[in-house]
Structures are given as C-alpha cells and as structure tokens.
Symmetry: D2
Subunit: 408 residues, 4 copies
C-alpha cells in the first residue's frame, strides 16, 4: 500500500491495481495537465493538476465502495476506472477538447484504445482486469459507471472541493464524506439515501455557483478561446496530427505554440496575459437561433465577415458560442419517504437550474483591446444582435463585473 | 484599540464606541447565550455564543463601512448597532423567543428600552450617540438599518460562516469578504454591485441549505419545542415574569428548569438528551389550513384532545406548528447591466426558494418514545392528517433520515 | 452505529460499547463542561466542551486501534476508556481541579468509583467490560494505557487541534491522521514508527507554543485563580461537599457562585469580565525557592501578609504560584534506524523543552485594578522579589504584551 | 486597484506601482515557475507557483507597512521589492540555483540587472522608483531590506503557510496576521513587539518542521539532484548559456531536457517518476570533513571514482552533499521586558535549532534502483563512510521511512 498526502483528502491510501497503475507513464503524465487550464489566469492559485484530482476521485470511489460493500474484482475495476478516468485528457484539459474532438472524434472519456495499449494496458491485464470493461465504466456505462461518471459521481465531488481549495472560491465546499456515505443502489440505480435532499441539492447548487464564477469566468473563456484558436493553427502544420496533440502535456503545447511561427503571437499573449477583450457579451435572448446553433465552419465564416466589416485581420476576431445548455432535467435520484424520486422533480431549487443555465449563457466576441469597438459594432451587425443589449450595457458595465480578475 | 482573536475572522479590531461597549454587562452577558441553543444536541461542536457572533457582525459592518466610505458619527452608530444587535436575545437565543414574545410583546430586536438604560445606555450617551437611533438600526429601520438587519445584512453573513465552522456542516461557507466589498448604495438602497448575481445567490442558497440541515433539524426542533413547553411552565410560577425570563442567560434558565418541580422532568430529559420522538412529521400538503394557521391557544387545545384520545397525559404531547413560510419575494437587489434588479426576479434559483421553503415545512407532533405510536394515531385523527403520508412514511422511514444525529 | 458530525474530525462513527455509553448521564454531562474553562474570556470562540473532545479522543483511539490491528474485548475496553477519560472532570475542567483534589484526594483521571457506579457502570457491565480495568486505562496504566494517557496519547492529539480550531490560534495544527497511522508497539512500548522524528516533535512543539499563548495566557490564569478562590469560599459553606462540587457542571457552579453571598462578588466580576490585574508577574529566577515550593497554607499566609502590608482586604490578593515544571525528560519513543530512541535524546528541540518550560514559568500576584500598585509593592517585599524584575519591567511593559486579549 | 483572489490570503488588493508591475512579462513569467520544483513528486498537490507567492509576499508587506505607518515613496519601494523579490528565480526555483550560480555568479536575489532593464525597469522608472534601490531591498540591504529578506521577512511568512496549504502538511500553519501586526522598528532594527516570544518561535519552528518533511524530503532531494545533473549536461551544449538557462521557465526547461539527446533519459525518468534511489544516506557524524567540504569538482571526481569501483557508468552515480548548516545564531529580535533580545538567546527552542539542523543533515548518494547495492558499497569505500551507519541501517530501514511518498 502506498499512502499519499493530499491537500484536500489528507491521506490517500492507494493499493491493489491502482497502486500498480500509479507508476505508468499515462498516469504520471497527468501531473503535467492543469486541472483548470487557463483558469489560473483569473485565479492565480488554480495550478492543481489532473493527477491529484484523479487520486481524489480514486479515494472517494474507494470510500463509496466500502460503504456500498462492494469489493473483489468489481471493486478493483471501479477503482481502476476512477484513477484512470482522466487519462484521455489532452493538454489544458477541457480547454481544447472541442478541437481534438472535431479532428479525432474522441472526447476525453473515450479511452478504450488508450487503456488497451501502453503501460496501462499491460498493468490492467497483469492484474486480471479487462481494459475494455474499465473503459466502459469511464464512459459511464453500466450500473457502476454511474459512480464514475454520472449525476452523483465521485468525479464531481472531488473537483468541486478541490477547485474551491485551490482557487479560494468557497462555493464548491460540499460535504464529500456525507455524499459517499449516503450513496446506495436501489433497483440498479445509484441514489442518495433517505433524508438527503439537501445533500443532493448542495452538489448541484455548488456546481451552479462555481460555473459562472470559476469555470466560465469571462477571462477564462477568452483565454480558452485563444488557446483553441492557436491549437487550430497548430493542427494546420504538416507534422502534427490531432491524435499527437491530444497526447501532449501542458509543457509540450506551450512549447509548440511558442516555436510555431503561426502561433507564436498567441503564445506570447497567453504568456504575458495580454489577452483579447470582450467586444460583445450577449445574453441568449439577444442572439438569433442561427448563431446559437451555428457549427464550426459557420462560426468561422461569421468571424471572417465580422473582421471584414470591422476592417481588421481575421485573426483579430474570435467568436465564442457555447452550446445550448443541456436541457436534461436533473436525474439525480434521492429516496424520499421510501420512494425513489428524481431530484429535478423533488427539489424546486434543482428544477430551477435549467432556467439558471440558460440565463448564465453568454455569447462572446473577443478582439485585441484597441479593436474591440470596431469589432463589437461589426459583430452586432453581422450576428444580428441588439447592440445596446449586447455591446453597450454588458461590456461597458461589465468590465469590472467580476471582482476576481485583473483589471482589463 | 482592542484586538480580539476570532475563530472565523481571525483578528478583530474593536475601537471607538464599540470598545467602550465591550465591557458592559449587557454585552458580556452574550458570552453565556448559545448562538444556536439546542442545536448542540445534534451538532455537538455548536457551542458558540452570541458574543463572538456579535463581534463578527461588528467586524463585517466595519469592513462594509470602510468600503462604502462611511465614517464619523454615522459610522459609529452603525458599528454600535452591529455590536448590540443581539443584546435583546433571551436565553437559548431564538429557542424560546416565541414564548417571551407572547408574554412581553417584544422580539429580540426590540431593544429601545434596553439600549436606553443600564451600562449600555450610559456608554452610548457618553460617546454622543442617541440610544433610540441605534435601536432603530437594530430594528432594521432607515437606509443604514438594511446593513444591520435586512436581506443583505452582515448578521447573516457572519452566522452562516460561523455556524458552518462550529457545526462542521460546510453549506454556510460563503465569501464574506467579497460580499462586504461589493455592497453599495444606489438611490438609498443597499445593493450588490455589478457582476455579483452569484455572490447574492450564494448567500440565499447557503441559508436554504443550512436551514433544514442545521437550524430546523428535527432533533433541534424537538428539543426546542420541549424547552418552550418547559419555559411556559416556568412562567406559570408566581415569582417569575416574562421580562425576567428574557433577561436570563443560559445557566440561569438551566438552573431554573432544574429547580422548579414543574419543569424538573424536562430539565432532566434535556440534560440527558432523553428527548421526545416524532409521532407525526407531516408535509404542508397533508395538513389542513386550520391547523397550519392555529394560534397558541388553539394548538394547546389540539394537544389536549390528542392526549385525551391517545390516553396519555397532556404533558406527553407537543404539537410543533411552524408559521407559514414568509411568502415575500427576495428583495435582495443586485446591479445587472447598469440597472438595479430584484434578485428574486433575476435569479431562477432564488425565485425557487419560495417553493423550496414550502416544501421544507414540516408539522411535528412529539411524544415520549413509548407513546409515539398512540400519540401519532390520535394526532392524525384530531388534526385530520392523512395517516399514511404523515405518520407512516415520513416517520417510519424518517427516523434515520439524517446522518448527523444520534440514533433516536 | 451512530454517526456524529464533528467540527474537527468531520464524521465520527460511534459503535459498540461507546454507542451504549453515549446516552448515559455521565457522558451527556460533559456537554456542559467547557473544555478550556475561563480561556473563553481571552479567546471568545473557545466554548467547546469536554463532550466533543471525548468523541474526538474516541475517534482517534479507534483509528489507532484499526492501524494497530487491535480489536475484540481489548479494543472495546480502550475505546470505552477513550470516551470516558474525562468523565471525572469537575466544572470548568482543570480550572478548579487543584481545589477538588485537595479536598477529595482525586484528580480527574481517578475514575474507579465513577465508572463502577451509575449508568456508566451498568452499561460497562452489560457490555461485558470490567469498570476497574477501564479505569486503569484512563489512569494511563498498562501497555494500552499509554494510548489513552501518555506522551503519545490520542487525548493530546485531539485537544491541540480542537483548541486551535476553536480559539483561532493556529499553533495546535498537527497532523493527527499521520500520528495515529504511525503508532506501533515495540516490546510493549508505544512508539512512532521509523521516519517520524518530525511527527513526534510537532506534537510536543505544538503544545509548547499553545501553552503560553492559550492555556497559560495571563488573563486565563487570573480568571482561573479567581474561580479557584471563589470555589474555596463555596466549600466553606455548610451544605456543599467537595465531592458534590466535583460532580457539578458549569451552570451549577455559575449559579452556586451567584447565589452564595460569600462568592457573589467574584461571580459578578467573572460575569462582567471585570477581572483582577497583575500586581506581580515574575520569572522563576527572580522568585525565592521557599515561595516556589510553598504549599496551599503557606501561600495563603503569604497572601494575608501581603494584604496587611498593602492595607487591603485579604480577599483582594491572590498569589498564583504554579508548580515547578515537571523535569522529566520527554519519554516519547520513536524508531530511528531500526532502534527505539527516546525523543528527548534524539531531538535537540525536544530536549530544549525542559528549559523552555522553566522560562515560561511565571509567578503572578493579582489584585483589583486600583490596588495593584500597593499590592505589587507589598508582594515584592513579602515574597522577597527583585521589584524591578518582577513588578516594573514585566508588568509595566507586559500589560499589552499579548495581542489576543481585551485591553486590561 | 486590482483585486485578486488568493487561496491563502483570500482577497489581495494590488495598487500603485505593484499594479503596474503585474502585467510585465518578468512578473507574469513567475506563473510558470513552480514554487517548490520537484516537491510535487512527493506531495502531488504542491503545484503552486512563484507568482501567487509573490502576490502573497506583496500582500503581507503591505499589511506590515500599514501597521508600521510607512507610506509614500518608501512604501512603494518596499512593495515593489516584495512583488519582485523572486523574478530572479530560474526554472524550478531553487532546484537548479546552484548550477546557474556556479556559471553566472548570481543567486536568485541578485536582480540589479534584471530590474534595470526590460519591462520591469520601464515601469519602475515611470513610477519614479530607482531600480537599483529596489534591487537592494530584494538583496536584504538596508533597514527595510530586513522586511523583504531577513529573519522576520514576509517572504518566509507567506511560503510557510502557502506550502502547508498546497502540500497538506500542517506544520507551516503560522499566524501571519499576528506576525505582521507585531513587527516594529527599534533603533533601526526590525523586531517583534513585547509579548511575542512564541510568535517568533512559531515562525522558526514551523520552518524547522517543514524542512525535513517537505523541502528536504529525500525524494525531493533525489529528483532535484537529477535535475541539477541534467542541467549541467544541458549547459555543455554549445547553444545554451547559463544566463539563458536562468531565464527559462519550467516548460522551457522540460522541453530542453526532453529534446536534448544527452538529457533525454533524465527527462524521461523525471516525467515517469522513475527516480534514482538512495544508495547511501548518511548522518553528518559518519561523513569525513573532506567530503562535507568538497567543492563541485571534487564531488564530481568522487562520483567518478565511485562509479569506477562499482563498475557502472558515471551517469549512474549522483553524490548529493548539502552545505554545512549555517551556524549563525538566530538573530530574530523580540522585545522582552522593554529590552530588545536576540531570539537565539531568549528561546531555548530556537537555540536548539542549530543542533537540530546538524542532525537533520544527510549526505545522499543516488543511483538507479538496480545499482544501489553496488554503488552504495563503492561509495562507502570511496567516501570513507561507516557502511553500517550509512548504508545498511538508514537505507534498509529508511526506505519506507516517510509516509508521504510513493513506495520506492
């Protein structure tokens, strides 16, 4: 057994297959993938990595399995999946995932191939585990997949607390110990036991507060959009495949951006925190559906038109259009009066989250600071936005909107 | 200047009128009034007092005044009100407030007389402050009263964090420093500045989660109801007035209950945590309006009928009927896009709180553990409850509903 | 199994004999005994009780037993001792222990009689445990007594962290989880395993820093001395025995002091924090041996002579003479290079603690604030102190010596 | 004014010259320099950077200046020095400082040239500050240099708490707020005010405990030694100067090591945490003076002889010989009874630190895991060590000596 000191869960005991997996290069690589990518440009202390997060998820999974009374090969498989659930992440975690996904068709939890090969594959097989079944759990499939990747998963329990600890934003402070103790299976479904409506609510509300404050902070979104743009340029280079990009770590990507002429300027801006600024920051109600639903090529075409109209280089315009909030009701289940109920139906707070998500949605158009005026006006025209709603009010007033950032 | 070490805010600097007020007997008495009364029977570490809470409220008020640029006599008045805002509390804080209120007509924030007399009155006048104006602030009146007692008051900011620290329940972990920094006055109204929708939400959601988990935990409610019942018996004694009861501290009340024959049994039960149990625990939908809206005399009459029907002493039945949740929309104001908006309208989460409050409402009927069956059945009849909803499902399943308690 | 939420150790699981003991009146009484007595007059948040501390000690003992692989009847006995180790405390914990000891011959860990009788005795016997053997463990006897009461005991591990959490003074922040994991038995001796010299040092150094800052803070010492004096007066009353005093809880003692004419004035001073002040505060080097080694009667005689010479009432003079620091080398044992070594020999820091203790020692003479000058001069004469060292320098400069107190 | 959220000090307000300095590339570069270098191979959460540490030091300096009543140009100069005190660090902070020092003659606090040139120089001059005088403060010169770099400096106050927060090791938890409040100048010397002996002790003891547990943990030392060795190889490349190496950031160094054939193997070992192991781990008493005092060339010669005798490549042997502990008494000054006293003389604990440092000293010889036996024996011969003391006992028992590491 190996014991590791963690800033969040104190002592984490790693044993069995997980201990053997620790030393693989795939797992060690996670030490060099920042958990929150460019969020550290907003919250300077947010330098934690996927490695310690993966240990934390493994730890919580182990605790939950203990409480559920699950051991043997099934337990080992879940524990392996917990430790490995993020090995599929590219550099800067989610930041450029949409780029690598478009080129490879794979999201970070598509790890079937990764787990079957390399050192991880060797270890899993040596320990008597089928890599394919572990990959299924990582993908959230099957009864026990819910524990690793689902509404009540230990992934979320870890990252909320960890991100709170490392950013200093307290909203993610949930009661992980209570959460793992109260998990139970009823009819093959993972539920929170009787008396835990607030326990369940707290998990979802914590995410609802962390989302705009941390994960979708506009400076994080701007820098992430710049990183995506630069990564696209990188993939136009003859000697780099998307699959290679996906397997880089953070220092690899930083160096590649710095040493490629087409991305050097982006690299320098990111290094010096000389970021684009918001030319447009519009609420969903002010954005036409055709823009919200535009695909990558359509967005690029819009950017070119905006640049033309504003009389700037195309490279000076980044349109950042988040997908529509997923409209699924919360399916977190909790026991109430002996019945299994969906939290989305039981809790008025949780059912309000769908509306809240819509309301937090923002379209951004970003440009170098001396071009935001021209770009903003052009974008309002091209995208068909109400210029007062999108450009003037939100940006003019919004510049100092958030406390936790450098003045722009 | 006096510096005091606090478990929550670290070093608190007390100066000016507040420093002079510290040594008065009225303020020192707060050292002996538990902040959360009987909640410590559920969360054993919750022994903090109104004294350190008052210091914390004073501290946050000072921080807010600094950010708002308010000083001089106005600042001193607000700081005095912050430090004194709880001197009107009786023993066990809110626990028996309804009892003393019925007999004296005063809630804890009705401190006009208290501030005008005694050592506090002397100090205030000596420092050039009018006790009546300080009392107005404590009551929440006027523009600056909002800061001391309102939707965005520093009272709530302190108690949520403090109660979280001392109970171990993390839901109250809000960002007090950000809250006090972002307060501003617009048109005489206290608002949170631009970009603070989540900051405002976090305050209200924290309370919404702490409420059922801590403040209204059923064991806290049972013990509180027992304390109220015992206090009523105490007031039937010839030599004790309600005003005297209100000015007791916790040890006074404990001793009075122990040494009065009519309350001795309650005192012993509370001392030994040998509490009544739930005979009924019913949702609002299952309780007739006439019961929800019954006044003190009507409830007592119902208790007597339940006792009769169950064949037990009247003393064995406590009906605990909370008031209807206050249906006011949240009027917390926050700046959005340069406009002042009501949070209840801006935030879907906050507007859901009204419904959530209704849903968290519970009617309780409590009895000694060997009489809950009989009392439960009788109460269902007398109160006109759906016995399955009220008695069976919630209580049968609900006994172990909450993790953070002793097995009943 | 009962799960209790704790502010320090999060969730504590109580099972077996400990669960049965929880509900006894002897254990529940600890809810009303402040852990640090009058320290809350210095650190206002220090209102935690012996009850949650006892739960914490039980929790750490359980963790240590798990790591040591000890279960069965032996484990139950140790767990029972851990939970019960403080039931022998009188009101205000250690504050008046010297008083009750002089009159009863018993310290708080002399619990043979207490455990054999009452509800605790019934539970222990019902669970198949011999009260006498549990009492031995509480007294620190035998191989496993070291775990409950010894140099490496779980008692100290809990109180340092708990007192830090509730006072806000960070010096007690030790790594309890590592400590309990690294305990092992070698040749019947409790030792810390290889590689834990710093782990062991941290425990002793934490106490060395907490001691003068918290436990022996001069305001705590003054109020404690006043409480002892008042308790002596109480015991002169015809209807109170020392054994009864010892079995009071805090509210009992407060009420007794308030309602007894001879102690009423002390009660009021303590209630209003209108404390005596230091007339003398002298280092060990400046105090004659005959004073350091004086017994209770001799000290009282000295007080009377000081009062006479100063022309004040005897009641106005309290001489507070701590015992000589116990000169035992630290016998904490730790494995180094495969050998068991005494920490006092291995660690230069720990061996310096003996000298540090001597240096922190102070004789205090206290008096009402308007009499400190006269009493200080008289005391210097009577006790044979160097007046410059004892009176002038330390007190004149020392009044504001510590940050964490109210201005005197 | 810019407000930044910090995981340790919560909200940090940056204004004046510091705000202007924030956006320089020299300061932004610190975001990519890990505070503790390879310590994250032991404590996975220790990924914090020199950037947030520099903000923390700036923050504490500002607090101290406020308490000292220092403002104007002097205040600005000290604040600038606090923010800039670490811009001279090379990649991986102290890890390869001895390498760059040998080649450039500069330590990290030798920043005269750095501050005079580049963006930082421009900003300083634009704000009316002389870069040379700021550099003097960084070097610890002059009265106010003590605040930035001295025994009581804000640098140490920040890093102890920050390293504790991010490693999870609690020993660095000091009371920074009290420390900055209690600083004062007496006769041009920075001292801690009356009553702060423990405050001062706590700072030095915290470092004494963090040192072996975190900073000098053997796995950190091994990986640091490997990094130094690899950096030496890098400097043998024709196209890299030591000054260039010093100005790299962490990703630069990682990439350089990976892409240089002579260092590729080291890079891979560090990436996969496939580290050398201890062949020798010897206490000072067991090591001849000629080895302890050997210079770089002599150590290299010894390594070659060890490799020869063991029959392995020279690259397989790293001798890691720390300098003798600096034997200076602690000169931290603290007021006691109105006199300024040296803490090393006042405090037995602090005077014991000198001995403790000697006792914590270890010579390490490291080699690939399958060669430790041969290398250990050869090293004992060549270095003239007592093989039982150095090799057998410490290593055999010491492998699992520390809890907070992966099994080797």
């Amino acid at each position: 057994m190996t014991t590791i000191k963690d800033s969040v869960h104190d002592h984490i005991e790693v044993e069995g297959v997980a201990e053997a997996l620790l030393d693989t290069e795939e797992v060690q690589r996670l030490r060099r993938i920042k958990q929150l990518g460019t969020v550290q440009l907003v919250y300077p202390s947010a330098n934690h990595t996927r490695f310690e997060h993966s240990l934390g998820v493994y730890h919580l999974a182990s605790r939950a399995l203990d409480h559920l009374g699950i051991d043997g090969i099934l337990g080992e498989r879940v524990r392996a999946a917990a430790l490995l659930h993020d090995v599929g992440h590219g550099p800067y975690s989610h930041n450029i995932e949409s780029v690598t996904h478009r080129h490879t068709g794979k999201y970070h939890d598509d790890v079937g191939e990764l787990l079957a090969t390399g050192e991880v594959g060797d270890v899993l097989r040596a320990e008597g585990l089928d890599p394919a079944r572990v990959a299924e759990l990582v993908a959230g499939d099957g009864q026990y997949g819910q524990l690793v990747s689902g509404e009540l998963d230990v992934d979320r329990m870890d990252y909320l607390v960890r991100d709170a600890h490392h950013t200093g934003v307290p909203y993610g402070t949930i009661d992980t110990e209570r959460l793992v103790r109260e998990l139970t299976f009823v009819d093959g479904e993972l539920v929170l036991d009787e008396g835990n409506v607030q326990t369940a609510e707290s998990l979802l509300l914590a995410r609802a507060l962390m989302n705009p404050t941390v994960y979708q902070h506009h400076v994080a979104r701007i820098s992430k959009a710049m990183l995506r743009r630069a990564s696209e340029r990188l993939l136009e280079q003859p000697d780099l495949t998307a699959e290679q990009l996906r397997r880089m770590d953070d220092p690899d990507l930083i160096t590649a951006l710095r040493t490629t002429p087409e991305t050097e300027a982006f690299a320098r801006r990111l290094d010096c925190r000389d970021l684009f600024k918001r030319a447009v920051w519009a609420e969903m109600a002010d954005v036409p559906d055709r823009v919200i639903d535009a695909d990558y090529e359509e967005i690029e075409a819009l950017e070119r038109r905006i640049a033309d109209r504003a009389g700037v280089e195309w490279g000076s315009v980044i349109a950042d259009v988040p997908g529509r909030p997923s409209m699924t009701e919360s399916t977190t289940r909790v026991m109430v009066g002996g019945e299994m109920r969906q939290l989305g139906k039981q809790s008025p707070l949780v059912s309000a989250l769908r509306t809240a998500q819509r309301q937090q949605w923002r379209l951004g158009v970003y440009a170098p600071s001396d071009e935001t005026d021209a770009v903003g006006r052009a974008a309002a025209d091209v995208l068909g936005l109400d210029i007062d709603g999108a450009l003037v009010s939100d940006v003019r007033h919004g510049v100092h909107a958030t406390l936790d950032e450098f003045a722009e």
